[in-house]
Amino acid sequence: MDQPSAHILFLDLATGACRREPLSPARRHADGGGRSLAGACFLAAQPDGAAGRFDAPATPVCLFPGGLAGYGLPGASFATLVGRSPHTGGVLTAAVPGGLGHGLARAGLAGLVLTGRAAQPNILVLDGRGARLIPAGALAGQGTRAVFAALAPWLGAVAVGPAGWSGSLLAMAVADGVHPVGRGGSGLLLAAKNLLAVVVTDGLAPHPAFVINPAKAGGTADSADVPELAGPADPAGPADAPGLAGVADPAGLAAARAAMLRLIDASPALAGPCGFGRFGPAALLDLTAGRRMLPTRHFRQTFFAQADQVSAPRLEALYAPRAVGCPGCPVPCRRVSATGAVLPDNDALSHLTALLGLADPHLAVAANTICLDLGLDPPGAAAALAFFAEVAGREPRPEMILDGLSALAREGAGATLSPLAVKGVALPGFDPRGAYGLALSLAVGTSGPDPWGGLCLAHELLRKPVATDRFTFAGKARAVFLGENVVAAAGAFGGCPYCTLAVGLEEWALAVAAVTGVPTCAGDLARLGERTVVRERLLNAQAGMDAAADQLPGLFFSQAGSSGDGINVAPLSRPDFLAARAGYYRLRGLTETGAPTDERASALELPCLR
């Protein structure tokens, strides 16, 4: 993609040193942006090419907007945060919903590469005066609600809560006050840099190019160096965005946008009466309950008889929430009550109710809201509490949940987490015994068990593009391989994972070609996605991760779920799982240990594993 105004900002937080590099058209064409370009820059910025700790000052943290963020495409405003996983030392890739990707792109930034560690907690601000570091002061350590209130108004922002400052492995960054930012310790990545928040505000400079040295923070910028803007940016469209490159084919971009909207409107899961646009992703709880794949009582069961008491429609009736979404999204999927409570998404709702064996919708909403305020991963925290109760031989007690969450945030890295995890991250709200392709994708996900990572929810649960048999591994290795490529490619351009239920690479290719003027087809983007995933595999292999990291906990191979209603929820067959994983490794071009072969790495123009 040839976007002459796109730059990557390299910032050393220890010194305040900053440089800005234009993104070459060749690199933009190869990696698009977002998840792919962030991964490429993360790999390139490794000190001496070696793996280090996630919190080593030299270890970079990359924050990149999607390559098409800011162009007004539906479901295309995401950014991606890439760093080293606090759990594994491998890669941690976290999608950043909300307005940050949109804002960064409109600031003319293809990405931020952050190294070093500031001497004190800081906030990185991108606004009409450029890029500045300002001391966080007393805001550091406060809840994210207070942080976002202090930062407002913003085009997009991501912040760390108290869990990040305590060093909790459950620390999760929060975007725009309502969006969870991935799982697996995303909050720790920013906290390790002593960065409380990154915020893009209205009145953007086209090329934010300077940073105040933290030692001088609190002073004023030299405004003579900063381009002035006529007015605030319009979040709805790219027309007056100062940092965005022109569009090679405006009519083609409009056609691509129309095609994306048509597909989203035609998607029952997104725009239907029961879809995410109406109830948020928590709508899935009724499906997991009905399919007997709702993780219950710390995965000892897969059916929760009281699921209807905590369903998304039940929450809707209780709270009459307003919908909040990302810029330009036609199906806003977050729900916020009149009092500011943030209703849980599927993983959070599932684990804050069924996994704990509790059927209290008010408790689930309160717990989710507290988790977001603490910057604590709600499903991971709920899984930890469920595990504590299991070890103690008792059922979780409602009155202890909120205090338990606060304790988890305080305890930092020493807190005990649920062992029912992959790559250190607790399994999400879909029991692997209920969908075998999903089981495989949860195991092999590069950053941990992401239920959207292999797109298996689409065909195994939501019947898109066609329904597949969820109780077989046959054909699932290929499904995960291709699905991962699609999700990774969409992530390169700012695509929302939910919207991949409707929008395919054909439509993304139309948009890419329209913006860049370079003929692009779905196959090109699939290869970009493949390259992205293999690069992440390479980073994991460099960190010493092998096939043992691509494994599900033993419980799922030894214990049955809750059969009934004509549905048999058997334990997974370990030989069948391993055969499917081996098939996936072959398709992905990996060795038996899960590392990229030199042949595949070379074919994808990636460095070989040393």
């Binding site: 409107d265 499906l287 369903s311 429609p313 291709l482």
Partner: protein
């Protein structure tokens, strides 16, 4: 495993023939599991194998189209290469266009299938790929055939009205018409309602769905059907085959107390809106071809919405007593959920509504008998009106 894969390929090849998309034994289905398996030996095996290898997909279908689709697609490919651009709803929403492949080489075929889900190779057939299963490729083959059919007959009528028909078009049209299956003359009797329990409802829906497909009023992978009973709407799932609805029906509470409809048809919103406006309980939606074709015929050449009539037609249009309304699939701001239900419920309940470029909705008071009969009658009416518009005798 290889025997199972071969059997799977054979099953989908048979289904191509049953659906009238290929002549028996002509469809070539290739499925890859541990090994690559073909439904039959073919001189095109190497070409198809190369596609599977280079695209990294699990299935490729090569479907030499049965008549009249062969005549139609050959004509359209010759006229419109490098791509056929149908204007029906399915193609607009899901396919964009149908690439015409210039030569029968792996490079040319892969290039086309890397862009689109399906393509046409003149002299050979429809090519389609499925990442997940043969069903994906089958749906694409069916869609290409349907879209080509609709475009061919719609374009012919438009050219006839404009006086721009040439000899080749007339020849192809005559050949295609000569190979059209006759219109259905008899609607089979269906279970009589009202139905008192869920089992009876599901059985009646399955029976009506099968009959709709057998009458040629919908290709099996399209259309939808529902029945309202005691505050619950039983509705076919998204992507469910109407002639195989066992296990493919969702039961959705109409009070909004459950998200069980998350996997229901894309038209769940339209069905629930109809239930609220109209006391009839049975709803049937098919894609009868001549109703779709005639809905795209409009004499208003100077209309400002000429290229957007499927979503923004400003006129009240009818085929006799049956209204034609605009609207896209689903519940978006231009969705048919806003246009079709009030039109069908108007005047105490009409016998049907045609959604422009898309299909027909009908209803029955207590069962599917009247809904199916009306669907059939509307298609026969539209077929008659089509040929009358051309000044020829109805077929």
């Amino acid at each position: 495993m290889s025997a199972l894969t071969t059997a799977l390929a054979g099953q989908w090849a048979d289904r191509l023939a049953r659906a009238g998309l290929c002549d028996p034994g002509q469809g070539l289905v290739a499925c890859l599991d541990d090994d690559l398996a073909f439904s039959r030996p073919s001189s095109h095996q190497a070409l198809v194998a190369a596609c599977i290898d280079r695209l990294g997909v699990g299935c490729v279908i090569l479907a030499p189209p049965a008549e009249p689709h062969r005549t139609i697609l050959e004509f359209l490919a010759a006229r419109e290469a490098p791509a056929i651009r149908p204007r029906d709803c399915e193609t607009r929403t899901f396919f964009h266009d149908i690439p015409v492949i210039g030569e029968a080489t792996p490079a040319a075929v892969v290039a086309a299938l890397a862009r689109r889900k399906g393509a046409y190779l003149p002299g050979v057939g429809i090519l389609a790929h499925g990442a997940l299963s043969p069903e994906q490729a089958f749906v694409t083959v069916s869609s290409v055939a349907f879209a080509g059919f609709v475009k061919f007959f719609a374009d012919h009528l438009a050219a006839a009205r404009a006086g721009t028909l040439d000899a080749a078009a007339r020849t192809a049209f005559a050949a295609a018409v000569a190979k059209l299956p006759p219109p259905p003359t008899e609607v089979p009797p269906l279970a009589r309602g009202p139905f008192a329990d869920r089992e009876s409802v599901l059985a009646a829906m399955a029976e009506a769905g099968r009959a709709t497909v057998e009458l040629g009023l919908v290709d099996s992978v399209f259309g939808n059907i529902s029945y309202s009973l005691d505050g619950v709407l039983a509705i076919s799932q998204t992507g469910a085959a109407l002639d195989d609805l066992v296990g493919g029906i969702d039961c959705v509470p109409l009070d909004g107390s459950s998200c069980a409809g998350l996997t229901a048809s894309s038209e769940l919103g339209a069905h629930t809106a109809l239930v609220r406006l109209d006391s009839r309980r049975a709803i049937l939606h098919g894609h009868p071809r001549f109703a779709v074709i005639l809905s795209m015929d409009c004499a208003a050449q100077d209309c400002a919405q000429r290229d957007a009539c499927h979503v923004a037609c400003p006129r009240e249009r009818f085929v006799d007593d049956v209204p034609i309304v605009p609207g896209e699939v689903g519940c978006g701001p231009r969705g048919l959920v806003h246009t079709m239900p009030p039109a069908l419920a108007a005047d105490g309940g009409r016998r049907g509504v045609i959604v422009c470029g898309h299909g027909v909705f009908t209803m029955g008071a207590d069962d599917f008998g009247v809904a199916l009969a009306d669907l059939c009658a509307i298609e026969t009416l539209c077929r008659t009106r089509y040929f009358q518009a051309l000044g020829t005798f109805p077929l």
